[in-house]
């Protein structure tokens, strides 16, 4: 609860900075503020409490994920310093929206009442609609915003309908009550339908097949930093929320529902990976890669009771490598009108460090050992085999192989092509974010227990 309040306070402060004409200080102060919030959150780690009639429930799960979100936001805000250089007059709006978005995200993983959940997801979505469309003179950005908005509201409608049916069945929005009631024998069919509808709405948010179509278009059209946010923070938030939703409501997930999850998971990874193969736009490629990672993360839903730690680990690994990759993309594609692979040619020569970082992050996504991505996959495979879905794991393995194909396309472009322009100045923040993110990723790879055992 304190986290939420602090974040909102920080958001309001951002707006005030603008009024007091402290534009230059906004990013540093926000970062300091966020670090403070992070400290606050971590200090609450072991306390399990519920606030205000069970509206907000602070648990290990919520604090762990909130911390991850805060860390990601810190990175994203830092990158904003560089990215919004030319938009000084709007910088406070951008930063404030991101902070509020974080508030929505935190609400989504710490809700105790479906009202909070719904409002959280809406705050997050609306912020994203705005950010996606924020490059207002760019038709691509407009289109991305519009597509995201239309489909997002549609999904919101479905989530709302689901919530409504759950309410109809249970007569309450409180998840604890719902959880207790769901144990009773006589349940109207409204309840499972409600759960399924909410799940579908969330599957849209995580961009799982067949609700994934928006992702590549929106990722491509949005400003690069927004894409970074969507592919890391937003995806992880949606996944964590889906996980929490299903586990906390004790919605006795039936076998056939699990089969649906298996099919969606398989389809997501397969389609995501195969479609990524022929992409030339890096953001679009990462969008498809994100779809496949969503497929991987959906595997956690098959063993709800035990897989929170693995989800956290996988999410951290994925989002940290995503941040590192995107910071390099931001550097390379700054002042370019597209994010084509061509732009990465010869990066290994002009800027070996960033090339190495991008390589490392792609290897992490591909699941090559010692990077955190590998252990993420490993624990997922392990749990899924334990849950008895060997076939899913085999499909996942085949997909890992396919995925190497396109990750390496980018690596090859960096190392085997001649650069088409000279080395340019690299801003410090890019280095800082990229290095810190990848170091965190590798640290996670070397000491996976740090995160894996957190939610045990």
């Amino acid at each position: 609860m304190n986290t939420l309040i602090a974040i909102i306070g920080l958001g309001v402060l951002c707006l005030l900075f603008e009024i007091f004409n402290l534009r230059k200080a906004i990013v540093p102060l926000t970062i300091i503020g966020l670090l403070g919030v992070l400290g606050l959150t971590i200090s609450e780690f072991n306390s399990t409490e519920s606030y205000y009639n069970n509206m907000i429930v602070v648990s290990k799960f919520s604090t762990a994920f909130s911390s991850l979100f805060i860390v990601l936001t810190i990175f994203l805000v830092t990158l904003g310093h560089n990215f919004y250089e030319n938009h000084q007059s709007k910088i406070s709006d951008y930063i404030a929206i991101k902070i509020f978005l974080l508030a929505g995200a935190v609400a989504m993983v710490s809700f105790g009442n479906l009202a909070m959940f719904f409002l959280g997801i809406e705050v997050l979505s609306i912020s994203l609609y705005v950010l996606a469309a924020s490059d207002r003179m760019n038709l691509k950005s407009n289109e991305a915003g519009m597509k995201y908005f239309l489909m997002g509201s549609f999904a919101s409608g479905i989530i709302l309908f689901g919530i409504c049916l759950i309410y109809g069945a249970m007569g309450s929005f409180d998840v604890t009550e719902i959880s207790e009631l769901s144990q009773s024998a006589e349940l109207p069919v409204w309840f499972p339908i409600g759960i399924v509808l909410v799940t579908i709405g969330m599957l849209f948010k995580v961009a799982a097949v067949p609700f994934h179509f928006w992702a590549p278009d929106v990722y491509e059209g949005s400003p690069a930093l927004t894409t970074a946010l969507m592919s890391t923070l937003a995806k992880v938030v949606a996944m964590a929320t889906l996980y929490k939703l299903l586990s906390v409501m004790n919605a006795d997930v039936s076998e056939s529902f699990k089969i649906v999850v298996v099919v969606i998971s398989m389809a997501s990874m397969t389609i995501g990976n195969i479609m990524a193969l022929r992409q030339t736009n890096v953001k679009r490629m990462l969008a498809f890669s994100g779809i496949s990672h969503a497929g991987f993360m959906l595997m956690t839903l098959l063993s709800l009771s035990t897989s929170a730690g693995s989800l956290l680990y996988y999410a951290s690994a994925y989002s940290l490598s995503g941040i590192a990759a995107f910071s390099v993309i931001l550097y390379v594609c700054k002042n370019r009108d597209n994010e084509d692979v061509v732009n990465f040619h010869g990066l290994g020569k002009t800027n070996p460090l960033l090339a190495a970082i991008l390589t490392a992050s792609l290897l992490s996504m591909a699941g090559i050992p010692i990077f955190a991505g590998f252990f993420g996959k490993l624990v997922l495979f392990s749990q899924t085999i334990q849950a008895g879905y060997l076939a899913l794991v085999l499909v996942a393995v085949v997909n890992s192989i396919i995925s190497v194909g396109y990750y390496f396309k980018l690596i090859l472009a960096m190392y085997s092509k001649e650069p088409n322009e000279d080395k340019k100045q690299t801003p410090f923040v890019i280095y800082a974010v990229a290095v810190v993110a990848i170091v965190l990723n590798i640290a996670l790879g070397l000491f996976p227990s740090l995160v894996l055992d957190l939610l045990a």
Binding site: M146, G157, L160
Partner: protein, 106 residues
């Protein structure tokens, strides 16, 4: 005080709002004019609101109605943002037909 549902039956409300919701879905799929699509989404949300109120009566519980307030706030916020996006598209493109938005694909 009698429960009104004894006259109508909750099923009827469910069917009504399902049909209304589906009309909204249909509208989203059928129309290419962004404004009408927005309106269709509003219809969907209203269908749900109606069901909330019906369920609220069914359970004799105020929470359902309270949730309708939130849903209205959300609807308002969405419409505001949506229309803002629409306006900027209209400025750039001179049209609000969503079929014209096909630059991002592949």
């Amino acid at each position: 005080m009698n429960n009104i549902l004894n006259h109508i039956g909750i099923e009827n409300y469910i069917f009504l709002s399902v049909i209304l919701f589906c009309i909204g879905v249909f509208g989203v799929l059928y129309r290419r004019n962004a404004i009408i699509v927005f309106m269709s989404i509003e219809i969907m949300l209203n269908a749900v609101n109606l069901l909330f109120v019906a369920f609220s009566t069914y359970h004799q519980d105020a929470q359902g109605q309270v949730f309708v307030f939130f849903s209205m706030a959300v609807a308002a916020a969405e419409v505001a943002v949506g229309l803002a996006i629409l306006v900027s598209i209209f400025r750039n493109l001179g049209s609000i037909t969503i079929d014209n938005l096909k630059n991002l694909k592949g």
